[in-house]
């Protein structure tokens, strides 16, 4: 096995450092936020929100694993966030459905009846 291949295998099987997780989480969060801000379809907005939530979850779990003093508390938070996300999606989709029934659209740009 050439040393370069060995190096690559080592690199792939080595435990990734904490920063990698954080970078992935931040990227997911940014993508989700970007989607929330610019997508027009309410359902897609919700999916982006879900992306943001899971980015946070990833960060939490990573911290829980890497920081010895955290004592695994981050994991329980992650479980909590998952539960809340499920509830939020249930309510949110119900609202979207209700809006769709009355207005025949899920375009968030057109839903501005709360304009001041």
């Amino acid at each position: 096995m050439p040393p370069q291949v060995q190096q690559l295998i080592d690199a792939l099987t080595a435990t990734p450092p904490l920063e990698w997780y954080l970078v992935v989480g931040a990227l997911m969060f940014a993508i989700g936020g970007w989607g929330v801000l610019i997508r027009r379809n309410a359902v897609v907005v919700f999916m982006c929100v879900e992306l943001m939530i899971n980015a946070v979850n990833l960060t939490l779990v990573a911290f829980a694993d890497y920081l010895p003093n955290a004592g695994g508390l981050g994991v329980s938070y992650a479980v909590l966030v998952i539960a809340i996300a499920a509830a939020e999606i249930a309510v949110g989709l119900a609202i979207v459905l209700a809006v769709f029934r009355t207005r025949r659209t899920v375009n968030v740009d057109e839903i501005t009846s709360m304009r001041g």
Binding site: L37, I38, V45, D109, I111, T112, R115
Partner: protein, 660 residues
């Protein structure tokens, strides 16, 4: 010492009318005209109890013979002292209690007919009873605070009663005038009370007197304070310069005028001076001020009464004048004579008003020149008014003679010849103006149709009048001076006398009765009656000629020496100016500030309104921006990094914004 039962009886004297007030206020709409029976019952019991108090103090009831005195703590300030509520009845208070109850009872009997069919009949009776209750409470008060409470209640009641027919603008104005003018005096009285409290630590009359004697309060401060208290009495008793409210108060129902003038309102001022006499005598200056204000008021008001056309106003000015006599008597140190005049005056002045009310009831006019020849149609009114007039003029042997003569004699004995001359001139003028009114109203030919058809008033009105007429004759007989030569004792001065302290401080012996002085004052009164007879019965054309000849004087007197015009031009106008200035300040400055704040908020809201686009993504953007800003503030150490991030996000936001 009194037993608890006796104390209860004393307490019931002012409480009963107050209770009647409550009952009538609560059930007046149901009782309607039956309210008078409730009221009369209450006052009658009060009168009986007052007579009991009088007998007790006089020593006729076993266990009595000395002043009644008891009190409870009302407000306890701990170390700061306390304000008690109590009762103190000596001869002075006992006589006053009986007079107030008696006159009030007469007037309430009379009002039943006079006010028949009035819209607010029960309310009228309710206030009449509150008035009586307040006056009785004032009479019983042993300290300044308690007195002041009832003092203000009296003022309030007079306001309500003078303005009883408040549909009439003139009645409304008169009520406000009465209230405001007396309030000036009240303010002075209150300042006086505060000074007493601050310097002596007590508000009880006896304590203050003792404190002043032992030097806690003296010199010019004592004089000032005493004069402030006297100024309160000036307001209530309508003395110069605060006399202007009393003639206007004639807008109230006539029985109310009788009550105000005889027993309740104006007597309060004289009573206050008599009550706190021990304090007053310690300041000779203040006594002199009282004497001169009294003497001047007596003369001034008498001249004003000379030309009035309104029968009630003649009598009103007469009250001002007679109150001046009382103040004169008190100021000169003849305590008994001054109060004796108040006591006699209560009967004949109440009677005069009830007679005037009887005429008004019969012919619905106040104007003397609408009347004439009434003696044939209203014999009882004529007879009683004649008695009252004689008593007021000070004709022997009617009640007024004895007290008036005592005051004039003391002025002479104390060598205040100016005051003596003023008082004597006033006797002459008094006799003239009251007989002018009587001759104009009752003699000659009827001048108008109502006068021709006038009929005597019903028995419920003439009954109290005849009772009062009886007292207008005999009330003075209890105080016939020893020197007169009749084998009767001078019960009054034995019963109502200044304290030993006051007597020794003043160093005045009560003047012995002098036939010469009595004769002079009697002659002055007869002269006045004679002149009135000449001008208004024998030679009526002379009166008109005189008025035309001295028209400037006539107008001057008729306008009441232009006091109303003077006060109108100075105090009223400046108060109005102040009011307008305040209104302008309120409208422009305060209103502008408040309006500005409102408009500013509205404008800012309008600007911020644009942010509320309704689009959910805008809100999300705001949230994101806010979080970033907070992040900047918290993580200031990464400033450069964060600024870059914010720049990035802002650009993104603009990009998003253009798409939104």
């Amino acid at each position: 010492m009194q037993t608890v039962g006796q104390q209860l009886i004393i307490t019931a004297i002012p409480t009963l009318p107050a209770l009647v007030f409550l009952v009538l206020v609560l059930t007046g709409r149901l009782l309607m005209e039956n309210a008078q029976y409730v009221a009369i019952l209450g006052v009658t019991i009060s009168l009986v109890f007052s007579v009991f108090a009088l007998l007790f103090v006089a020593g006729i009831v076993p266990g009595g013979g000395e002043p009644i005195e008891f009190s409870v703590n009302w407000i306890d300030l701990g170390l700061g002292g306390s304000f008690p509520m109590g009762v103190y009845i000596d001869g002075l208070a006992a006589v006053m209690l009986v007079v107030v109850c008696f006159v009030s009872l007469m007037i309430q009997l009379y009002s039943g007919a006079f006010m028949e069919g009035d819209k607010r009949f029960a309310w009228y009776y309710a206030i009449l009873n509150l008035f009586t209750a307040s006056m009785l409470g004032l009479v019983l008060a042993p300290n300044f605070i308690e007195l002041y409470v009832f003092w203000e209640l009296v003022g309030l009641c007079s306001y309500l009663l003078v303005g009883h027919w408040y549909e009439k603008p003139s009645a409304r104005d008169a009520a406000i005038k009465a209230f405001v003018v007396t309030r000036i005096g009240d303010a002075a009285l209150f300042v006086g009370i505060i000074i007493f409290w601050a310097t002596t630590g007590s508000v009880a009359f006896s304590d203050i007197s003792v404190a002043a004697q032992s030097g806690f309060l003296g010199g010019s401060l004592l004089t000032t304070t005493v004069i402030l208290v006297f100024f309160g009495a000036v307001g209530k008793s309508a003395q110069f310069p605060l006399h202007v409210w009393l003639p206007d108060a004639m807008e109230g129902p006539t029985p109310v005028s009788a009550l105000i003038h005889a027993a309740t309102m104006v007597a309060a001022g004289v009573y206050l001076v008599a009550r706190t006499y021990d304090i007053f005598v310690q300041s000779p200056t203040a006594m002199l001020v009282i004497a001169y204000i009294g003497g001047f008021t007596a003369l001034m008001a008498a001249t004003m009464a000379l030309v009035k056309k309104d029968i009630k106003r003649v009598i009103a000015y007469s009250t001002v004048s007679q109150l001046g006599y009382m103040m004169l008597g008190l100021g000169l140190g003849s305590y008994t004579a001054g109060f004796f005049h108040l006591y006699n005056h209560a009967f004949f002045k109440a009677l005069l008003f009830l007679c005037a009310g009887s005429i008004i009831y019969a012919m619905d006019s106040y104007n003397l020149f609408d009347m004439g020849g009434l003696w044939r149609r209203m014999p009882i009114t004529f007879g009683t008014m004649l008695i009252a007039g004689l008593s007021l003029s000070g004709v022997f042997p009617f009640a007024g003679f004895w007290s008036k003569d005592a005051i004039i004699a003391s002025a002479y004995d104390e060598h205040y010849y100016l005051l003596f001359g003023m008082a004597l001139l006033t006797v002459f003028l008094t006799a003239f103006y009251i007989f002018r009114a009587i001759f104009l109203a009752f003699t000659g030919e009827p001048r108008t149709e109502p006068a021709r058809e006038a009929a005597e008033s019903p028995g419920i009105m003439t009954g109290p009048m005849m009772l009062l007429a009886f007292f207008a004759v005999v009330s003075g007989w209890v105080g016939i001076p020893e020197g007169f030569g009749l084998p009767v004792k001078d019960y009054f001065s034995e019963f109502v006398h200044p304290s030993e302290f006051a007597t020794t401080t003043l160093g005045i012996e009560a003047p012995a009765f002098s036939y010469a002085l009595g004769g002079i004052s009697f002659a002055a009164a007869l002269l006045g009656i004679g002149l009135a007879y000449t001008l208004y019965v024998a030679r009526p054309e002379w009166a008109g000629a005189l008025a035309a000849r001295f028209s400037w004087l006539y107008t001057f007197l008729d306008k009441g020496w232009y006091f109303d015009a003077l006060y109108g031009a100075t105090f009223v106008r400046s108060a109005m100016w102040l009011g307008r200035a305040t209104r302008r300040f309120d409208r422009n400055v305060i209103g502008g500030l408040v309006g500005g704040i409102g408009r500013g908020t509205l404008g800012t809201g309008g600007l911020l309104q644009r942010l509320q686009s309704g689009g959910v993504q805008n809100y999300a953007l705001f949230i994101l921006l806010s979080v970033l800003i907070i992040g900047v503030i918290v993580g200031a150490q990464y400033a450069v990094l964060v600024v870059g991030l914010i720049a990035l996000v802002t650009i993104t936001a603009f990009a998003v914004g253009t798409r939104l």
